[in-house]
Amino acid sequence: MIGEKHRDYYAGGLVALLGVGAAVIAFRYNIGSLTRMGPGFFPFYLGIILAILGAIIAATNFFEVAKGPPAPGMIPKVDPHSAMQTKPDWRGWGCIVGGVLAFIFLAESAGLIAATFSCVFIACWGDKTAKLRDSALLATGITVFGVLLFSYVLKVQIPIIRGF
């Protein structure tokens, strides 16, 4: 998604931004001196180091010096988990994020059964080959198992059903 060519500019930029942000926030806490360090000392300097590192990362994209040499033939090319999607997969992302959000809101309002079922059911639809029957079966199975394990055995503090 992010072009190979510009990736490290963005990477360096992100790191630098985080570093500067942290340093600015930490500056408002008391920095103090080496003898009497205030709460801001450590984060302030870490932020500055991070900002410098970000600049170097962006710069090495220019020179391509510090990039690790490719390991020829050492890692098989079939690794499915190191490959990045080539196109944005809004369906997959949306369903995973939606599943977690559904869990958060329904655990608050409707109890564990509804939260578990909808979390699993929504996440299922992230896969392009999802079928209604399979998803419903999986969600039901996990709900039964989850409620038994977490509510009765481990006594997690979410009521099974919560009134609206």
């Binding site: 709460p39 098989p76 995973i96």
Partner: protein, 555 residues
């Protein structure tokens, strides 16, 4: 307590029915996680971490450790039979394991793997019994400056020697250190980086961070993006696993060499099982008289990396248990678990909590035995597990993540934090960052700051305290060596002059810090120069496949 008494004490603890049960559960879950494509050890350990809070610390640690080494057994099955490196340390095993499978010898490869694993693990455990108490005894003399320098070394090694760009690794470590600072400052009571959120005043929950970075971020990456699984060669039973006598003879020396390499790698902080297995494979290929067989089903190419993985996995526990410095992200999680259970990691752990240390070691023996029993006669069951499709796996795991994070502190807020770190972690993955060092920094962050402060309060703000004390100076000189060595290797091909200048300056700094380290480095460098100049006179030998970690570890 000497080693023998300790072991007996340990067995008396590990064999208690309850601990035995947790150990069994741990290794079984580990094995399962290793087999399932798309599940990681880190997410498995973090999901189960909140569930251990009600348990006794010993049982909790036994179980969590069991997941780690159990997964190594399962990961090999996945690599050899499916050609899927679902588990980084076993990526090299694919190279020769899968060709063997295609030749119909997948069972033999698994059998050899099991033998190598058992041998490597046994060696690693013995190494731990002998070294860990000794290292802890030396570490008793460490004051705040030494601990600081040692942590710096551990963090630098963990971030630069792991896979991916070293620069980005260091950036991730620092990010982790900062995330560790979120919450109320213990010294002054000031709330840092909480952005006004009360739920953050206790800091970011370890579970939320790791499940976000290694759970949800992984799902975001893998959904609709997994390779189709080829089940053509997975019909393996126990009978197929018995190797012939010739194959055993062929694998014996590689197993031994792999084990030694693995245990050496585990001594260097930051070089975990993944690097150990790559180095072992490269070394085996270099030594072999028939290197062309590698990649086409050489049994040595399975035996050496697998045994080195296992010996280094067990050896990895040494710095964690004796110094309180984790070598990689899994160890950082385990250390975090110890802290949550109210146990301060560090050199005093072995003396103050012999139950945990010796119980853990005894449980390693028991756990590995269970794993052999689980894997050899029941191999068929695990192979069946390979068929669980990812589209059912990730929604179920997502639920376990949500409830696991919630159970940590009974806070739905933390589930939201997990989601945030999931999205952030995915952004990092897209930008080719390796998120593992974040966890390392996160766990060590508060202790690093505390010791840094203490050291400077004692020395009245004089930074020389880190250089004046020789143990601390030695660690610092190793830090310089680590950073400059990597820079040197990378600069040399393109800018030889700059590399040489850097080398001389670095050597000067190292000599200022510690003469002995500088002397050793110089001797190794000159020796290598001498050997390579001799080798150049001979007809050029083909350059061995030298991976970056191999080269760094060899220097």
């Amino acid at each position: 307590m000497n080693g023998f008494e300790g072991l007996i004490h340990g067995f008396s603890i590990a064999l208690e029915p309850q601990n035995l049960m947790w150990c069994f559960i741990g290794v079984t879950i580990g094995n399962l996680v290793g087999v399932l494509p798309g599940m990681g050890v880190l997410s498995a350990v973090s999901i189960l971490l909140p569930l251990t809070f009600g348990m006794k610390p010993v049982a909790a640690i036994l179980m969590l450790a069991g997941i780690f080494y159990g997964a190594q057994y399962g990961g090999a099955i996945c690599s050899i039979l499916l050609n899927l490196p679902c588990h980084p340390p076993h990526a090299v095993t694919c190279l020769d394991g899968y060709p063997l499978t295609k030749q119909g010898k997948g069972g033999v490869a698994l059998g050899i793997t099991m033998m190598g694993s058992a041998f490597g693990a046994a060696f690693g455990i013995i190494q731990m019994i002998f070294f860990a108490p000794y290292i802890a005894q030396v570490a008793f003399q460490f004051g705040a400056p030494e601990i600081c320098s040692l942590m710096l070394l551990g963090l630098l090694a963990g971030s630069t020697l792991a896979k991916g760009s070293p620069l980005k690794g260091v950036a991730m470590t620092i990010l982790g250190l900062m995330l560790g600072l979120v919450g109320t400052d213990i010294n002054t009571g000031v709330e840092r980086f909480t952005f006004g959120m009360i739920d953050l005043s206790d800091g970011v929950a370890l579970v939320a961070l790791s499940l976000g970075l290694f759970g949800i971020a992984e799902f975001l990456r893998s959904v609709n993006n997994t390779a189709p699984i080829n089940m053509a060669h997975t019909n393996v039973g126990m009978r197929d696993m018995r190797p012939s006598r010739a194959e055993m003879a062929q694998a014996a020396m590689p197993i031994l060499r792999g084990t030694v390499i693995g245990s050496l790698c585990s001594m260097i902080p930051g070089t975990g099982p993944t690097i150990a297995s790559f180095v072992a494979y490269a070394a085996e290929k270099k030594i072999s008289k028939t290197p062309e067989r590698f990649g086409h089903g050489a049994i040595e190419g399975v035996a050496a990396p697998e045994s080195s993985t296992h010996s280094s996995v067990q050896g990895d526990f040494i710095p964690t248990m004796s110094l309180g410095i984790p070598g990689d992200a899994v160890m950082a999680l385990l250390l975090g678990a110890l802290i949550i259970h109210g146990i301060t990691p560090g050199p005093r752990l072995i003396v103050e909590h012999p139950d945990i240390f010796w119980g853990l070691i005894a449980s390693f023996w028991i756990g590995n035995l269970i794993l052999i029993i689980l894997n050899v006669p029941m191999i068929g069951i695990w192979v069946k597990m390979l068929m669980v499709p990812y589209k059912f796996l990730f929604p179920s795991a997502l639920f376990f993540i949500c409830i696991g994070v919630f159970a940590d502190k009974n806070a739905l807020f933390d589930v939201g934090v997990t989601l945030f770190f999931g999205l952030f972690g995915y952004l990092l993955l897209m930008l080719k960052f390796e998120p593992a060092p974040i966890l390392l920094g996160f766990v060590l962050g508060p202790r690093f700051e505390e010791n840094f402060r203490r050291a400077l309060i004692i020395s009245r703000g004089d930074l020389n305290t880190f250089v004046d004390r020789w143990i601390s100076a030695t660690f610092l000189s190793l830090c310089v060596l680590l950073v400059c060595g990597q820079l040197y290797v990378r600069l040399r091909p393109k800018f030889p002059m700059a590399a040489n200048v850097l080398g001389v300056v670095a050597l000067g700094v190292i000599a200022y810090l510690n003469y002995y380290v500088a002397g050793i480095v110089l001797a190794i460098f000159l020796g290598q120069l001498f050997l390579s100049s001799r080798a150049n006179k001979k007809p050029a030998t083909p350059e061995p496949v030298a991976t970056n970690p191999a080269r760094v570890a060899g220097e």
